[in-house]
Symmetry: C2
Subunit: 215 residues, 2 copies
DNA sequence: CGAATTTATTGCGGATCGGTACAAAATGGA
DNA sequence: TCCATTTTGTACCGATCCGCAATAAATTCG
């Protein structure tokens, strides 16, 4: 959209870190309670510049979230899909999640999507679609990982992989909420670890891969 | 607070159904996005009357939520604590939850607490405390039920009851979010059923109570 | 240096925000 | 009937909301 060698006055802001600052405001205050003035102050951009650069408030939010997702997707997907051990993959993935949800000076900010726009999702169709898409992405991601685990023989083929994926998504949803409710990092980590252990037990996961015995 | 035989002009509204209408607005729009004008229109009360009767916007929300909780607590607690079978108790409890989260013409409104004030919880200490209290109540409730199940011999005494309770709380959190993301009643019911089954499997639940065998 | 282009700044507009002052209306008690 | 009491309706407060028009400043190209 913005070419490198432009003619006019050079911009004084860095779009990337402006969106990062904007997302911080949204996470702190929630979507509706974040005004364009808040965003303007946080990004050090005048309100018209904000508008010209990113569009309206919802567009700003969407682009900020997209940037965040693109940044964090790499580490998370690596943990979840590249790690051969299902248990370790889940542990690393949710360690990343907890770290992301806790980050923020003093206040645990939770998930930039789940924790921020849940309140507005029923009233605004655009926001509702955004939330639904996020939930859907998480579901398919865990379903895919469970299918891989079945193929790898880590869990039995007749296991309820969809149900197990829903449980893992539930853990993510729960962590987002608990972070928002003031849960601390150690608390969330402990919950995630025991949760994973129990999910794997329900899935009939054979912890030591060599000793998998079907049925 | 309000005595029955008062002297002055009789009120033209019913506080109970005014709070019900107010909660509906909060559930539809989210906390911040719900204005006193919205509440005024929904309750058919002038804004000063609203203020005189219930107080702040936050106070209105809190009293509306409290009324809702008091109303629904009976049915839910009965399902969870009076039903002897752990499985049936959980199924009934979450059937109530799903029904409550889905209710609402057209739009699934989710949980009046979890789905509504998550966004504002980090910025407003009062709201944060409200959310934290709700999460805490759910946790202790499930922990208590799991202790009962251990005492009744339904699950083993060395099971991770706290972790299992956290999973059940996670189901509730997840259902609140999914309802908000547009999930339908049947979808949520299906998720709840398979979730319960898997949790009980992880807990080592002996489905037929007569055939409980320790260790 | 002038023209063109892009961004930054100022300021406003119309709406809405939460909250309240004040007087009219409606009742019970004396 | 007249007063005390309570609720209702109107009108308004200052602050803030989102969005944009108009203008000033800074840069590149010709």
């Amino acid at each position: 959209m913005e070419r490198k060698l432009s003619r006019g006055r050079p911009r004084e802001y860095d779009p990337e870190q402006a969106l990062t600052a904007a997302l911080g405001e949204f996470r702190r205050r929630g979507y509706t309670a974040t005004s364009l003035d808040h965003l303007s102050e946080a990004t050090d951009m005048a309100r018209p510049s904000l508008y010209a650069a990113f569009g309206n408030k919802f567009e700003i939010y969407r682009r900020a979230v997209r940037q965040y997702a693109d940044e964090s997707a790499g580490r998370r997907n690596h943990a979840l899909f590249e790690e051969p051990s299902l248990r370790k993959g889940l542990e690393d993935y949710f360690a990343e999640i907890v770290a992301a949800y806790i980050s923020g000076e003093g206040q645990p900010l939770g998930c930039p999507i789940l924790s921020v726009i849940s309140g507005e999702a029923a009233a605004d169709p655009l926001i509702g679609a955004e939330l639904a898409a996020a939930v859907e992405r998480t579901d398919v991601q865990f379903r895919r990982r469970m299918s891989m685990a079945v193929d790898a023989g880590e869990i039995s083929g007749d296991a309820d992989t969809v149900g197990i994926a829903a449980m893992l998504a539930g853990l993510q949803h729960s962590l987002a909420l608990r972070a928002r409710a003031g849960g601390t990092g150690p608390e969330l980590s402990r919950i995630a670890r025991s949760y994973i252990t129990l999910v794997l037990k329900a899935a009939g996961y054979a912890d030591h891969q060599g000793t998998v015995r079907p049925r």
